[in-house]
């Protein structure tokens, strides 16, 4: 039986990332008006879950991750009150965001959360997952940079998150590094250990052009939730492009409940015109995927490259070699400065 036939009638839940991962692509500078316009269009197109926060989630407003013009509370309140059917979700990375901030997001109308840890550090999330469940939120454990753990290792981490109360466990390809076989092995390993009622999700980045293929591979192995962004608006070469993914699903008979033409129209008429740069696979974003580097590092590396005269690709490759992970954006400038000193472009302040 071909995959096309076997997936016919399968129901999946699309989770839009345009207003969270997309914040990275906009250097965190989206206006409330833009957020409301996009969320309203998504709601109208039948997208059931929409993530709305600073790109780094709760507590993201910082020198490390950039300051957005508005607080998470302001964005969430503005969007949540306008939704007819969609639920608003948030991102919470323990160590950056806290339970206080989650409670405040909930009070503004957020009803779903991705509690995110690096793919080997699930045990930093028990407080936050348990608290989200206590609030009655749809709670996901989100294992980032999932290519850096083996399928078996990742399954154990997912099992931990399930034990804390996560109802869904996500495989998060933060670097856009994975190929379909990598995704399949990880979904299968999770499916083998998680309870049947625990859902599995996949969050892709398009750095190697594999966002859609990887998402379909995940569904083939039993994933039922897929993160995507309209026109791919997200970090690196963007997320799995939502309207393209919806079209593929429709052809394969996978049921998303979304209106394809409305999604196509909003991609063309709303998202693409507001992009600061074309979100696509270019030399730097391809380097991220190829070297397995956190997608959000892209724009930071480009800025450091301009300032210190070390090419962005060299910085990204070095960050990959040093095994830097999500959240270590400070190490981009640090690495660029160290490389600039080695190349005689910068003097040591302490010397």
């Amino acid at each position: 039986m071909s995959a096309e036939q076997s997936l016919k009638g399968r129901k999946i839940i699309i989770h839009d990332m345009s207003l969270r991962d997309g914040m990275h692509a906009k250097r965190e500078q989206m206006s409330i008006e833009q957020m409301v316009t996009i969320a309203t269009a998504l709601d109208d197109a039948g997208v059931p879950l929409i993530q709305v926060t600073h790109g780094a989630g709760m507590g993201g407003n910082s020198l490390q991750h950039g300051f957005a013009p508005h607080s998470n509370e302001e964005y969430i309140s503005a969007v949540a009150s306008k939704m007819k059917q969609a639920k608003i979700s948030v991102l919470l990375i323990p160590g950056l965001g806290t339970m206080k901030e989650l409670k405040s997001a909930y009070d503004c109308g957020a009803r779903s959360v991705h509690v995110a840890t690096h793919c080997t550090e699930a045990d930093t999330s028990p407080q936050h997952i348990a608290f989200a469940r206590k609030l009655g939120m749809d709670t996901t454990g989100f294992l980032m940079m999932a290519h850096l753990n083996t399928p078996e290792g990742l399954a154990q981490q997912g099992k931990l998150m399930e034990s804390y109360g996560a109802q869904t466990v996500y495989i998060t390809d933060s670097a856009g590094y994975m190929l379909p076989a990598d995704v399949k092995a990880r979904v299968a390993a999770l499916r083998a250990v998680l309870k049947p009622e625990t859902e599995i999700g996949f969050h892709g980045h398009h750095n190697m052009g594999m966002g859609i293929a990887n998402s379909i591979a995940a569904i083939e192995e039993g994933a039922s939730r897929i993160d995507a962004s309209v026109a791919g608006l997200g970090a690196g070469a963007g997320n799995t492009p939502l309207e393209v993914f919806a079209a593929v699903c429709e052809r394969m008979g996978i049921v998303t409940g979304c209106d394809l033409f409305k999604l196509m129209d909003m991609a063309e008429d709303i998202i693409v015109p507001m992009m600061d740069h074309m979100v696509r696979v270019d030399r730097s974003s391809l380097t991220l995927g190829f070297a397995g580097v956190y997608s959000t590092f892209l724009l930071h590396a480009k800025r450091a490259a301009e300032r210190f005269g070390v090419p962005a690709r060299d910085i990204l490759v070095e960050l990959g070699r040093k095994k830097m992970i999500g959240g270590q954006e400070d190490m981009i400038v640090d690495t660029a400065m160290t490389m600039a000193k080695e190349r005689g472009l910068l003097k040591d302040a302490a010397a």
């Binding site: 507590g59 910082s62 950056l96 040093k322 959240g327 190490m331 400065m337 302490a350």
Partner: protein, 304 residues
């Protein structure tokens, strides 16, 4: 020379590393190690190193405090039990050094405010967090030159150096450290970020400190102040090292630090463990020196 006799509460990474630091001190002597699990590796190691041990928690130590003349105790358990531990030992005249995020006593960063605490004979001082010890001296080095409206620190820690207690309670770490950036560091608003990195071989502890000054930063004065402060910290943490900066970007000042440990209990990458235990030891030594010299007297039970 007379040494002040100490008890260590908590037989995890921190408590065990403290034994090494205290044994080397000319002013302190480790006498008791308190745990709650008779099978724990920490208690076994403490016995091997010549300490008396109990697996009955603080209550197992209390009957021996006076006869063994314990004057200083280090608490490396958890924020939840610290208050009780402190109350029981303070009652017996034992001064408490708190390495949990409980922070019921004043916050202490040795090169910034230790002397003031010792002069006041505080009976409980809190060591904040590893990231606090590694970063607040730098925030203070900037804020003593000119006003800092916002101080933000990012601590990257090797996964292997973070014990189960910290992992399960990351929010407490965030709150305690953020608060101390303000109260001790002198920033009007503080924010702390922690990242746990599992790279193999484990990465050294890294800390990035950013300050936003109200006015254009005086680059020469701030650089001099930061370099001076680094030397002060190096007196008790030799592996405290400037990697890059100070970097000036408008009103933003950024300093990139690395902390290598001494490799006593955990390997050198666990600079976070070392800077915490070294700061606690330095704090105890300051009190011990004053007690030995007779310049301060701990509040004995009769007086209290």
């Amino acid at each position: 020379m007379k040494k002040i006799r100490c008890a260590l509460i908590g037989s995890g990474n921190i408590g065990t590393d403290l034994i090494y630091k205290i044994q080397r001190s000319p002013f302190l002597e480790p006498v008791w190690m308190v745990g709650i699990d008779p099978e724990s590796e920490g208690l076994a190691r403490a016995r091997d190193m010549g300490l008396k041990t109990t697996a009955a928690g603080v209550d197992g130590l209390l009957p021996h405090v006076l006869e063994d003349n314990i004057q200083i105790a280090f608490d490396a358990t958890s924020a939840y039990v610290h208050a009780e531990n402190s109350r029981k030992l303070n009652e017996l005249g034992v001064m408490m050094i708190d390495l949990t995020p409980a922070a019921i006593g004043p916050l202490c960063v040795p090169p910034v405010n230790l002397k003031a605490h010792a002069e006041k004979v505080e009976m409980n001082v809190n060591m904040i967090s590893c990231a606090g010890q590694a970063t607040i001296p730098i925030v203070f080095a900037v804020s003593r030159i000119q006003a800092v409206g916002y101080g933000e620190i990012v601590a990257s820690l090797a996964s292997k150096s973070i014990g189960p207690g910290t992992r399960a309670n990351l929010d407490e770490f965030t709150y305690t450290t953020s608060n101390a950036i303000e109260i001790v560091g002198g920033a009007r608003k503080g924010k702390a970020l922690a990242i746990i990195n599992p790279a193999e071989p484990p990465m050294m502890m890294r800390n990035t400190i950013s300050c936003l000054t109200d006015d254009e930063p005086d680059q020469a004065k701030i650089t001099e102040s930061v370099l001076e402060m680094i030397k002060e910290v190096q007196k008790y943490v030799p592996g405290y090292r400037l990697v890059n900066g100070p970097l000036f970007d408008g009103k933003r000042v950024t300093v990139f630090m690395e902390v290598a440990g001494l490799g006593d209990y955990l390997p050198k990458y666990a600079g976070n463990l070392d800077i915490m235990t070294a700061a606690a030891t330095r704090t105890a030594e300051m009190f011990a020196q004053e007690i030995i010299a007779g310049t301060i007297q701990l509040k004995s039970p009769e007086v209290a």
